[in-house]
């Protein structure tokens, strides 16, 4: 099945409350912003008001952290209903979440926990994606998470799982380049292998973020600038991807907006270089 998500080519930022004033008072030179869906799946108040104002100025992507697409016992109707209501109002570029799970039965960990790459898990994830896309009435994007644990008994690689998932459900992929690097380092696989296994015709969005060195593992902290190694992978990815939306995702130790705009300009430059190179090759 081909991916049903629309294409959008551009460069954006994750909208964080530290920058609300900048976005409301100035014309910030981004092509789109991405917000955390759950922060706005609320009854009312200032956050929804601000989002509506931002939406008048910029395309908005909704990025969730709580759908729990890998839950063995399915998705929660109330969550899907609220997300649909938000999406219907905001008319987002994309609605995305992670290839992970956070809920089991009544317990919710509020973390992006790893899915085992097995045939059974793939069937469950695909059934859940079908349900979510049916309720939302649109294709979603799913992101490769950073992971710190690989389960024994895996029947395929992460990239094979992502490719099969996109092929079976028509969902798009949100490729987090930092997460590729973090997981590759933590689990000892070659990021080139990951990139080579990704069906780029399904990729619609790219995340860039920073990480930190933990005691034994790399941690996906989103509190530092994008590392040099990740920029190199990004450059490669842009050579393989079609029109995509690239975004800097900073969640902690938030710097002034000008710093993030500078970082975004690096992404723009690398993207433009790769586009020129492709044109040269085509000529």
């Amino acid at each position: 099945m081909s991916t049903n998500s629309t294409h959008f080519s551009g460069y954006g930022l994750g909208l964080r409350k530290e920058h609300y004033r900048d976005f409301l008072e100035k014309q910030v030179a981004v092509d789109f912003v991405e917000v955390i869906s759950e922060n706005f799946m609320i009854a009312g108040g200032q956050p929804r008001h601000i989002l509506r104002q931002i939406r008048e100025r910029h395309p908005v992507a909704l990025h969730g952290v709580s759908m729990s697409i890998g839950s063995a016992d399915g998705l929660r109707d109330d969550y899907l209903r609220r997300l649909k209501a938000l999406a219907d109002e905001i008319e987002p570029l994309f609605v995305s979440d992670h290839l992970s799970w956070s809920r089991y039965a009544a317990f919710n960990s509020h973390d992006l926990l790893p899915v085992p790459y097995t045939v059974e898990a793939l069937d469950i994830v695909c059934a859940n994606i079908d349900q979510a896309q049916d309720v939302l009435g649109r294709a979603m994007l799913f992101e490769n998470p950073s992971s710190y644990l690989a389960f024994d008994g895996a029947e395929m690689s992460e990239w094979e799982f992502l490719a099969a998932m996109a092929q079976r459900t028509g969902c798009g992929l949100l490729l987090d380049v930092n997460n590729i690097y973090v997981s590759a380092t933590n689990h000892g696989f070659d990021p080139q292998q990951f990139i080579a296994g990704i069906p780029f015709q399904h990729v619609r969005q790219i995340h860039l973020a920073g990480h930190s060195q933990g005691a034994e593992l790399l941690i996906d902290t989103h509190d530092t600038p994008v590392s040099e190694a990740v920029w190199k992978l990004y450059s490669q990815v842009m050579g393989l991807a079609g029109p995509v939306a690239t975004m800097i995702e900073r969640d902690d130790d938030i710097p002034p907006l000008a710093d993030l705009m500078l970082e975004l300009s690096v992404a723009r430059s690398l993207g433009a270089l790769r586009a020129s190179y492709r044109q040269m090759e085509a000529a």
Partner: protein, 250 residues
Amino acid sequence: MMLADLQRDFQTWLVKAESSASLGDGARAMAGLAVYQNNYRAQLVGCLEQSYPQLRAWIGDEAFRTAAITHIDRHPPHAWTLDAYAEGFDCTLLALFPDNPDVHELAWVEHALGAAFVAQDAQAVPFDALAQIDWDTALLSITPSFRSIVATTNAEQVWSALWEGQAPPDSAMLERPAGLLVWRRGYTSCLKQVDAVEREALLQLHASGSFAGLCDWLVERFGEAEGVAKAGELLANWLASELITGIDAV
């Protein structure tokens, strides 16, 4: 290993730190599991710290952290939204601070202010909408962000001082019970201490909506002249405070 079994084992690891063979048992697996458990607990502690900043300042970092860890050990999260984890912290505080009503009231204030901040929107009724109202049949609606409890301590003064970055007063019991009101004006959450009569009057109106019923209740309590005057005074204050968000004639 079926996915459901693995997810159950992972939950047990996060909540009780009891590992299972399904999650792996080598040094690499344990390092990874430790990251997930740290993320889980840090996320919940962070949620409570963000939801109760003035309470944390009031009881101190160490006592707050102890309360947070106790709460996390006793009450694993259930809701899809992390914000909901702040609900129910009051029960843990009650168990840990059974003789500190100031702590409970301060916790209530912070949680109510947070809930009001994201409550359903509602337009306040402007004064000029009152001209044609038949007060005998009028039904008034109070803003969906409204919350109230009985106040027995000076928690309102303590919270306000802490919020303004000033030294808070010592905790003290009120001479007589009062009421704490929390609601949202526009996009700003508000806190106000009122006397017990005003709180009860507002709860009466919240329950029945009937302004005539409120007048009857106040007349019964204060007599004809004073009761009617009091009803008018209270309504004027509530309208000015944007607590009233709907007027319908029956």
